[in-house]
């Protein structure tokens, strides 16, 4: 098989990887904020449940979680889902896993905000919602951006775990091509693509950090 053919096949896989990456971020970033609020809730039941949830998500392998999401409905409840469910399973697995990591990042950011910011806002008459949206969140975003960047870069590499439930993303394709061609080339090209993918992500995150450098 010609190199160009390999590249085309892998690019198709890369499109799937990018889609997993984007959909995961799109949903896990806001969901993480909701979970962070649950974790900080004064209601003991809510905060305990979210605490357990976060600790399971962070304490077990993502690959195992993908298996549970994909096979769980059948093994646990005897629900038969169509094979295309594997795509949804990947999204669900990644979103609930990453939301837990983001929740902890948000929480540490929110808790690091000085109480004086809240008190000044209260004295000026801002509602709780306004205080959070206008004053707290923008500063929290700046504080947590470096940790978010780390997670996002890990996510690029983690998309390859989707191979475990046979989703046709780039790593799955590279592995298949490599064994059918008995060649290292597809794996090396895939590695190169992951590297470039991450390079672009790091570049964009760095731009975002610079953009928030206008204040201290």
């Amino acid at each position: 098989m010609a190199l160009s053919q390999i590249i085309i096949e892998l690019l198709e896989g890369l499109a799937v990887s990018v889609r997993i990456f984007l959909i995961t971020l799109l949903f896990s970033l806001p969901l993480g904020l909701v979970i962070a609020f649950g974790r900080m809730s004064k209601n003991n039941i809510i905060s305990s449940i979210t605490k357990i949830y976060i600790s399971i998500m962070r304490g077990t392998p993502l690959m195992l979680q993908l298996f549970v999401v994909y096979y769980g409905p059948y093994y646990l409840f005897n629900i038969k889902l169509s094979p295309t469910y594997r795509n949804s399973a990947v999204y669900i697995g990644f979103i609930i896993n990453y939301a837990a990591y983001f929740a902890e990042i948000y929480r540490s950011g929110i808790q690091s905000m000085p109480v004086g910011q809240y008190e000044a806002a209260t004295l000026l008459g801002y509602s709780k919602f306004q205080t959070f949206v206008r004053i707290i969140l923008p500063q929290v975003i700046k504080r947590i951006l470096p940790s978010v960047t780390n997670e996002v870069i890990t996510l690029v590499k983690d998309t390859s775990l989707a191979f475990s439930i046979s989703v046709m993303e780039m790593f799955t394709k590279a592995k298949a091509l490599s064994s059918s061609q008995t060649s290292m080339t597809p794996l090396i090209v895939a590695g190169l693509f992951y590297y470039v993918f991450n390079f672009v992500v790091a570049f964009l995150m760095d731009k975002a950090e610079k953009k928030l450098d206008y204040y201290k």
């Binding site: 910011q117 209260t122 004295l123 000026l124 801002y126 500063q139 206008y214 204040y215 201290k216």
Partner: protein, 254 residues
Amino acid sequence: MNLLEMKHVKKSFGNLQVLRDISLEVKDGEIVSIIGPSGSGKSTLLRCATLLETMDAGTLKYEDTVVAENDPNGKAAYADKKTIRKVSSVFGLVFQQFNLFPHWNVMQNVTDAVINVQKKSKAEAEKIGMELLEKMGLSDKANYYPFQLSGGQQQRVAIARALALNPKVLFFDEPTSALDPELTGEVLKVIKSLKDLKIAMVIVTHEMSFARDISDKVIFMADGVIVEQGSAEEVFNSENERMQAFLGRYKDIL
């Protein structure tokens, strides 16, 4: 009618009784200084008056609005949220640590609440903002961010931010004690210049000569009670032993 009335205010943190039985009144346009040793409860008193803390017992009244008064069990019962929200526009507070919003420039710091809380137009808010910044001697700093300003300038922005909402009484909690001595003067000068705005001011301060010069009334607090109150002359010349002991430390500058 009194602008502010606090009667028999009590406040404890755990076993520590910080305010024992404080009663004070502030009239429209009156300038009141609160002095006293560290830990005597001055900040706690301001925080109760500005609703950052809740009193355990006592009455808190702004004009004719009762914010809190004792229930039959002798515990302070607060008015509903709506009343509290309404009364909150009567007072403002200037913090020791300024607490400016670092992600906004000076003009945004001063005008954002005017626009988003008081719902005035941006143009109107900026007109108010510019006038106040001029009064504070900061008209050339409107586009600066807080981290680009000296402590004294930051505190003046904080004063402008509080004044922009047009309060009837402005509380200051040691507005200069986070500042280097050479920056203290500029802030005290600005506070003195607010006299012609005719708003009431309640100022906790360790600057004795400033308190003596500016105040209509001086309150000396120690251990959670008011030991002396009256005109500056009366209080500073008081024979009271604790007052004398406290003032002893400042004798050279008075």
